[in-house]
Subunit: 342 residues, 2 copies
Amino acid sequence: MKLRNVLRKIAFCLIGACLAPVLSTPALAQAQDPLPSWNMGSAKQAIVSFVRKVTDKSSPAYVPPADRIATFDQDGTLWVEHPLYSQAMFALERVHELAPKHPAWKTEQPFKAVLANDRESMARFTEQDWAKIIGATHAGMTTEAFLKIAQDWLSKARHPRFKRPYTELIYQPMLEVMQYLRANGFKTYIVTGGGQEFVRAYSERVYGVPPEQVVGSSIATKYEYQDGKPVLMRLPKVFFIDDKTGKPMGINLFIGKRPLAAFGNSGGDREMLEYTGTGPGTRLMMLVLHDDDKREYAYGPAEGLPDTKVGTFSQALRDEANKLGWVVISMKQDWKKIFPWE
Amino acid sequence: MKLRNVLRKIAFCLIGACLAPVLSTPALAQAQDPLPSWNMGSAKQAIVSFVRKVTDKSSPAYVPPADRIATFDQDGTLWVEHPLYSQAMFALERVHELAPKHPAWKTEQPFKAVLANDRESMARFTEQDWAKIIGATHAGMTTEAFLKIAQDWLSKARHPRFKRPYTELIYQPMLEVMQYLRANGFKTYIVTGGGQEFVRAYSERVYGVPPEQVVGSSIATKYEYQDGKPVLMRLPKVFFIDDKTGKPMGINLFIGKRPLAAFGNSGGDREMLEYTGTGPGTRLMMLVLHDDDKREYAYGPAEGLPDTKVGTFSQALRDEANKLGWVVISMKQDWKKIFPWE
């Protein structure tokens, strides 16, 4: 083969086989707008400026890829949490489904209230009530069986307002942030108060986050045998609550590194953002504010509402954000579109 | 620029910038011997044949990279565990170091035995005794302070027989297996009964395994404030024991995927190998047998010894390995060299 042909072949290989790594280099990823669903404003600028600083080798804020960790709360940060967390919906619907096997539930709280669709009582459910419901609906099966139950439910369930699967009610702008960070060498983690195994049932498909990058609340498991085959049985016993102070604890336990960027939307994320912000160097802390009742919902300080159980973004949290330089994302002003299908 | 020059430039770029990804492709990695410290034999063949099968797209055993998970026990599998686990050495030496601050230890067990170097009593320490020692030596400081204490100790401590830092007493053949698997798209995890935070202090530097890929035993932490700054304080309270049935539980908790390959050396790894082997498709389960008292140590069924506390590789485990097709690695016969510095 002539030199020219050899080189032509190499050039062909370069364009073919090496296209993917070339496209994912920071320089090219930044050439076009990496956040097309964001309106230009201080929130978008904060993200882009942060990524440029920590990935620019000549910047004093440069951080090597191994330490580029970004953590995302899920409910209210990556997908809709109103009128109720999806996983709570899942649990309540499971109670209805399992009721024929548990006749005592008709007279036994908290199940009685769920079966009677008694919304007033349900709104007053304590943590203990929810623990009973989770124990009855999320335990007593193997991890593999639970995965299938969760996936089946997700494929059938529809959101009461949007009439779409919950996994379609994800925020397009946040997906873009995750992709943008990954294209710039970040490892993106979901750090959720929700059930770790529940979120893992769809995290890779929906967010591009593999199971090992989902940190969440969990119940205990037990290694036992079914027909001579080992299984992990899910027990009705809380193992770890990944919320509030549990978030930095979970981050340390699962990741062992302090995040460089953290995204949340409520009091459950306060300590994760605080822990992130206390690290040295340049950090990015952001809070999604739900102030768009037309396209999604408005709650928290946007409406001057008091703390609510779902999505507690209090005025105190907003004040703290202002004081500490955490960036508040206004859904109404910062997001050109909310959902991928809009 | 002439076409030839353009192509020459592209070729130059290919050789320069793209060298790293090219070298890590399976085809080239396999061209030279990926396991030079292994003698040719059934153990080496089992590894190479396994990797070829699961990475060959035309093979029915093909597994996509996302599911290529390999888990490695540490003590006795990746580094020397005799005459005592390094972390136990660390704990005992910490007792001596902290003793001046705890005068009561002179008369209080198990500390009294440690301070008196009473080897007979120490050999009889119960799990409760060890829990007391771990509580006194591994807790009561922040996670950051503990990391520094562990790293300082590791830099100074020397193994009683080899007179080298513990982090040099790693098995070169196992390092090669880890590198070979990573070059073939595997994610390598350490799954150890030892302390997760202790192993994370050196895992990246020594094994190329980042903190987030170390699964181990842990104590509880508490989020609190020191001089107004949030810290994670280590509590004298066991959180999770990653040993025996705890290994598959830990794997499910931290990774959320069943390993494709698992490596151990003792009864503490039995369930990890069993759990790995029960998955569908081609799997690789291996046990390191310590049968080389000249170059390292001989214990377990190699010497017909009964179960010992350290490195319990019983005859029953060997029988099970034979029955289930787990491959036993003979240090004496399979390993050309044991340590990197030989």
